[in-house]
């Protein structure tokens, strides 16, 4: 498979068009936090909300609105599909593995079991300029989850 085909895997193209979690949902009283990320070099932008369950322990939902390239939008969609149901520590583990894969320059075999659809982004690691695109939503979610957790803890 060419580098380009690895970058734009069908899963990514599909997610960039059929987006999960698009449209910020109301938190309905559950602990939640929003985070905004912006990439000034290309103008990609995302506003993302992580909602936790009432106990503040598990990710209930990830919703977002954004404007950006196929990689950044697909990464947001895959995240919104993968995160719900994960405990906060599990979620952080997922983010860490995703980040590690993207920074591996194609040298680390992705943990498909843990990453699920997110493993499709392995090809991005060969395109250093696109790592930020893939990370945009994930950084927003990492921040938002941390803040939502803190809010749940202090509530």
């Amino acid at each position: 498979m060419s580098d380009l085909a690895q970058l734009y895997q069908q899963i990514i193209l599909d997610h960039s068009r059929q987006r999960t979690g698009e449209g910020l949902a109301d938190a309905a009283g559950l602990p939640s936090a929003e985070n905004h990320q912006y990439n000034p070099t290309c103008g990609d932008e995302i506003n993302l909300r992580v909602t936790l369950d009432a106990a503040g322990e598990r990710v209930e939902a990830v919703t977002w609105e954004g404007d950006g390239c196929s990689i950044s939008m697909a990464a947001a969609s895959v995240l919104a599909e993968s995160a719900p149901g994960l405990g906060r520590a599990e979620f952080q583990e997922l983010v860490d593995r995703f980040r590690e894969m993207l920074h591996s320059r194609g040298k680390v075999e992705p943990d498909a079991e843990l990453l699920g659809d997110a493993a499709a982004f392995a090809g991005v690691s060969k395109f250093v300029a696109r790592i930020k695109c893939a990370m945009l939503a994930w950084v927003a979610a990492e921040e938002a989850a941390r803040e939502a957790g803190a809010r749940a803890g202090s509530a």
Binding site: S2, D3, L4, L7, Y8, L13, S16, R17, T41, C42, G43, D44, E45, D67, G68, C69, S70, I71, M73, F127, R130, C133
Partner: protein, 440 residues
């Protein structure tokens, strides 16, 4: 100027065509680099141009034989370096129709525009108001720029307005992305003190009717500032004939090195303009309390200068002059039209700025419906085609045109019609790749 010029292989003046451009390409080894197994198709000169061997040789020659600090020291090398530096100034000034004392070296156009804005700022203080009052700004005064501008010709004016209490206004663009001259007549008025505008838009390629804006500014006694970054490299430009008061351009967009640019100013205006950066090399007599300053242009050149870069830029100017700027302009106009016509034929791709057939520089920015510019650029890159994607440092213009980012192809003297066609063919395939619209 130096021995290598006599050996120059640059073809003498004459109209450019594909065959001649292929000879020119021989002077640019980097254009034979391969990307993803394809010989590079470099269409990103709007961001930065490539350097011919003649420029690289001139810089190397300077370091090999004459390197020294300029305008200080009396040893032989220092004299040679100073001669080279000032000869470069004469040549670059002459290239834009200016006298040598009307051209101030800067690091780039951004620095040139900031130099001007900060000098106006200084003129607005008690320290300088008596001698430089014509540049002083305060509440009630207006600085006017346009919605077309590169951030470099916008943000320095935003900051100047904020520092002085002046009001910043702008001439809007039409929905087609062209300067709204009718609106300019409304915006520019008796309170206007500065009118800053671009000669050629780095996004749309539209060429500004400079005479019209200069007339408006003169009618109200405003100082004009021209961003000539995208014009001086590509068109025959005579700044005094255009009638602007100040202008800025950058070396690296015109075959020269990075780190060198210029501010042009009319002699009598530079003579009154307070310095921006102060320190060594710009003074006559210094006591512990105060200093007297040199005349322009050296008054604006504090500190160690960029000598090899100036020498390199002079070699670039010599290269362009040998080709003939009329020939350069004609070739780029042809490439620009070929780009515009080709883009208009592709379904789902919108051309920004002047339609095909209308005057434009040798560049196009496009919006591909349903595909983000980053993805467009990626597809082109895998075919060895280098373009710029993003907002091209012109966020307000993109906002006015209803897009966040675009894909820009910008041509120069080393691009053939084949380069343009390769870009168009690749562009035509982008939407199909992403499954947007009808596959082609």
């Amino acid at each position: 100027m130096t021995h290598h010029h006599e050996e120059s292989t640059v073809p003498a003046a004459g109209a450019l065509d594909d065959a001649r451009v292929r000879e020119i390409v021989e002077d640019f080894p980097v254009l034979s680099e391969e990307v993803e197994g394809h010989r590079i198709t470099y269409l990103d000169t709007g961001a930065t141009s490539q350097n011919p061997l003649q420029v690289l040789d001139a810089e190397r020659d300077y370091y090999l034989h004459r390197n020294s600090a300029v305008h200080r020291g009396a040893h032989t090398l220092a004299v040679h370096a100073t001669d080279a530096f000032e000869a470069a100034r004469r040549m670059v000034a002459g290239f834009v129709g200016a006298a040598e004392d009307e051209l101030v070296w800067t690091s780039n156009a951004t620095e040139a525009l900031n130099l001007l804005a900060y000098s106006f700022s200084n003129a607005s203080t008690e320290r300088w108001r008596a001698s430089a009052g014509r540049f002083a700004l305060g509440p009630g005064d207006e600085i006017v720029t346009t919605e077309l501008e590169h951030h470099a010709n916008l943000i320095p004016w935003q900051e100047l307005a904020a520092r002085t209490g002046a009001t910043l206004r702008h001439v809007p663009v039409t929905p087609e992305g062209e300067l709204d001259y009718a609106a300019a007549g409304e915006v520019v008025g008796p309170r206007t003190r500065v009118l800053a505008f671009t000669h050629v838009s780095n996004v749309t390629g539209a060429i500004t009717d400079v005479a019209r804006l200069v007339e408006l500014a003169r009618g109200v006694g405003a100082v004009t500032v021209l961003d000539a970054c995208q014009s001086v490299p590509h068109l025959p430009v005579d700044l005094p004939a255009l009638g602007v008061d100040f202008a800025a351009f950058s070396g690296h967009k015109m075959l020269g090195p990075t780190g060198i640019g210029a501010l042009y100013g009319r002699r009598e205006l530079l003579a009154e303009l307070p310095p921006f950066l102060t320190g060594g090399s710009m003074i006559t007599r210094v006591t512990m309390e105060e200093a007297e300053y040199l005349d322009p242009p050296t008054r604006f050149e504090a500190g160690t200068q960029r000598v090899s870069q100036a020498v390199g830029l002079a070699a670039a100017v010599e290269y362009l002059s040998r080709l003939g700027m009329d020939n350069v302009h004609a070739w780029e106009a042809e490439l620009g039209q070929r780009l515009a016509e080709g883009v208009e034929r592709i379904e789902g791709v919108r051309l920004l700025g002047p339609a095909a057939g209308r005057e434009r520089a040798g560049l196009v920015s496009v919006h591909v419906e349903g595909v983000h510019p980053h993805d467009v650029g990626q597809i082109l890159d895998t075919q060895g085609i280098a373009v710029r994607v993003g907002h091209h440092c012109a966020q307000p213009l993109h906002r006015a045109l209803g897009v966040t980012a675009t894909t820009r192809a910008s041509a120069y003297i080393y691009n053939t019609t084949d380069d343009v066609d390769r870009f168009l063919e690749a562009l035509a395939g982008v939407r199909g790749f992403f499954g947007v619209g009808a596959a082609r």
